[in-house]
């Protein structure tokens, strides 16, 4: 398992089986059932300023899709349209279509959408409650009636935090280290059993060892979850993702399998970015 999170070759090897099912980039638009998110002609505006321009992208089920690009290219904004978090900001507008399993998310009940599409943020943001209550929060607000204890344990196990936290469940979440807090936030998101997990630079505030833990976690979560991760770290994108989308100035420049994008990019701008000539 150690090999899975380290190095490009292992990543490429892991990709081999699924290359068959999506042989081209996402622009190859045959409707296969394994697409979780289908985004077409998406435009996003902060007031008069447009941040995302005519974006088309398919996010495949049970895979990790990485979004890379320089700061301010709109990748976080785009990620936040997928669970409609941008609606919490005044004066924003979405034009276009986002389908989640064929359903238009803009027509959905936002509470239901966010239950299906969880999110992990850049900085760990545990609530000022106990570890247990943090994980149980999503279940409580969704009116869950079963045994909370089991689900809290299950979620903490999925986030690989159970062993470290099981004796401190009722202590404040602030007593955890930064990396543990971020895994707690992942456990909190997983507790409501989302189909998709959006990760907005989840490791940018963490050290390399903790980062490796979270990447390993993502690999295991693929069985049950579709993930989209925004990252500034190209090694992370190369290590942890199956597909990579490169954005620049609010536009999607290139999208393909990670192994392909990082070895033989088709667009000169992608090549310039991944080889470190700008950004």
């Amino acid at each position: 398992m150690g090999a899975t999170t380290h190095g490009n070759n292992a990543t490429a090897a892991r990709l081999a089986p699924q290359v068959v099912m999506s042989d081209k980039t996402s622009q190859a638009s045959d409707k296969d059932a394994l697409v979780r998110f289908e985004i077409s002609d998406l435009n996003f505006y902060y007031g008069a300023k447009q941040a995302v321009f005519g974006l088309n992208l398919k996010i495949p089920k049970n895979r990790v899709t990485a979004l890379i690009g320089p700061s301010g290219c709109g990748k976080s904004t785009f990620l936040r349209t997928l669970n409609r978090m941008n609606e919490t900001i005044r004066n924003t507008r979405v034009v276009g279509q986002i389908l989640l399993d064929g359903q238009d998310i803009l027509q959905m009940d936002v509470v239901g959408l966010r239950r299906r599409v969880g999110m992990v943020f850049q900085r760990p943001n545990p609530f000022p409650k106990s570890i247990y209550e943090n994980v149980a929060y999503g279940l409580r607000i969704n009116g869950f009636q079963g045994r909370l204890d089991d689900l809290v344990e299950h979620s903490l196990r999925r986030a690989a935090l159970w062993e470290e936290a099981k004796d401190y469940l009722h202590n404040s979440a602030f007593a955890l280290s930064g990396g543990q807090q971020q895994r707690l936030c992942i456990a909190r998101a997983l507790a409501v059993d989302p189909e998709v997990l959006l990760l907005d630079e989840p490791c940018s505030a963490l050290d390399p060892v903790t980062t490796a833990k979270i990447e390993e976690l993502m690999f295991h979560l693929k069985d049950s979850c579709t993930m989209a991760i925004v990252t500034h770290n190209m090694q992370q994108a190369a290590r942890a993702s199956d597909f990579t989308a490169f954005m620049l100035d609010g536009k999607l420049i290139e999208h393909s399998e990670t192994s392909k994008l990082f070895t033989t990019p088709t667009d000169p701008r992608t090549e310039a970015y991944i080889t470190g000539r700008f950004g």
Binding site: N83, M85, T88, V110, V111, G112, L113, R114, R115, G118, M119, F121, R123, N125, P126, F127, P128, K129, Y137, G138, I141, N142, S172, F174, A175, C185, R188, A189, V192
Partner: protein, 284 residues
């Protein structure tokens, strides 16, 4: 020449340091002088009777202010019931929902209300709650104090809610919590320590108000059952007793001042202890 300049600079430094230091010391000294004088004079006349007895008829010595202590507590309870819900909710609105222009207007109005002399608020409460029923009452006093509680509560609530990081709100909303749910279950608990402190400060501030009570709650030398009759309060008793020509009354006025101060202090410290024990707040 340059030597002269150096001496000048150094002496100026010493002079300014001394002046600022003396001023700082003066501030603390005034506070301790008041406290010390109050404890000295009040302590002498404080006894069990003061807490358990009604005021004696004019001319007799002894007696206490049990009715005024209970009266002050009743008035504060009324003020809290009337002022706090409005103040807290308006604070939540300003911090969490308000738009730009409307919020600015509310904030500005709140500051104005905070600056209105308490006697003017007393007149307002008088015309609102005394004139229609044609007699003084505890309720009228509660209205006056309640109005004064509002602006302080609004601003402190808003401030402490704003100090809660936005990432907590996002975290809750990303789990599917509605805006109100987020505020009620995450934001308010995170800010509760500060908000409660602000509420206590507001109540402590009005606990010592005299002017607005003079013609709303008035005063009472006996027990005031219920809420519809004139009621005694510590500040008004202090005022009445301090300007009376009897030495015994002066002593009791000092004692009342000390009790008032102690009440505020005990409530403040007590809440802080409970809050720090309870946990759940942001530990840094």
């Amino acid at each position: 020449m340059s030597r002269m300049l150096l001496i000048w600079r150094k002496s100026l430094n010493v002079v300014m340091l001394t002046l600022t230091g003396v001023a700082a010391f003066g501030v603390v000294a005034v506070l301790f002088l008041i406290l010390g004088y109050l404890v000295w004079n009040g302590g002498k006349s404080l006894n069990l009777d003061f807490f358990t007895q009604l005021p004696k008829p004019v001319g007799e010595t002894g007696g206490g202010m049990a009715n005024a202590i209970v009266g002050s507590l009743k008035l504060l309870l009324l003020a809290a019931l009337m002022g706090l819900p409005v103040g807290l909710m308006a604070g939540v609105y300003l911090a969490e929902f308000g738009g730009k222009t409307f919020s600015y207007v509310i904030r500005y109005t709140t500051d104005l209300l905070n600056g209105v002399p308490s006697i003017v608020i007393g007149i307002f409460a008088y015309s609102l709650a005394v004139l229609p029923v044609r007699h003084f009452s505890a309720v009228a006093g509660g209205v006056a104090l309640g109005i004064m509680v509002i602006p302080i509560t609004v601003r402190s609530t808003e401030e402490f809610l704003r100090a809660v990081p936005g990432s907590l709100r996002e975290g809750a909303m990303a789990l599917g919590a509605s805006k109100w749910r987020t505020i009620a279950t995450v934001v308010l608990p995170a800010a509760k320590g500060g908000i409660i402190t602000g509420v206590l400060l507001a109540l402590a501030r009005v606990a010592g108000e005299t002017a607005p009570l003079l013609f709303t709650a008035f005063s009472n030398r006996f027990w005031s059952p219920g809420w519809g009759q004139p009621i005694a309060s510590l500040p008004v008793m202090i005022y009445t007793y301090a300007i009376a020509p009897y030495d015994d009354w002066h002593r009791q006025a000092w004692a009342a001042g000390l009790v008032l101060l102690a009440l505020v202090l005990v409530a403040n410290i007590g809440t802080r202890v409970v809050l720090s024990r309870g946990g759940g707040g942001r530990s840094t």
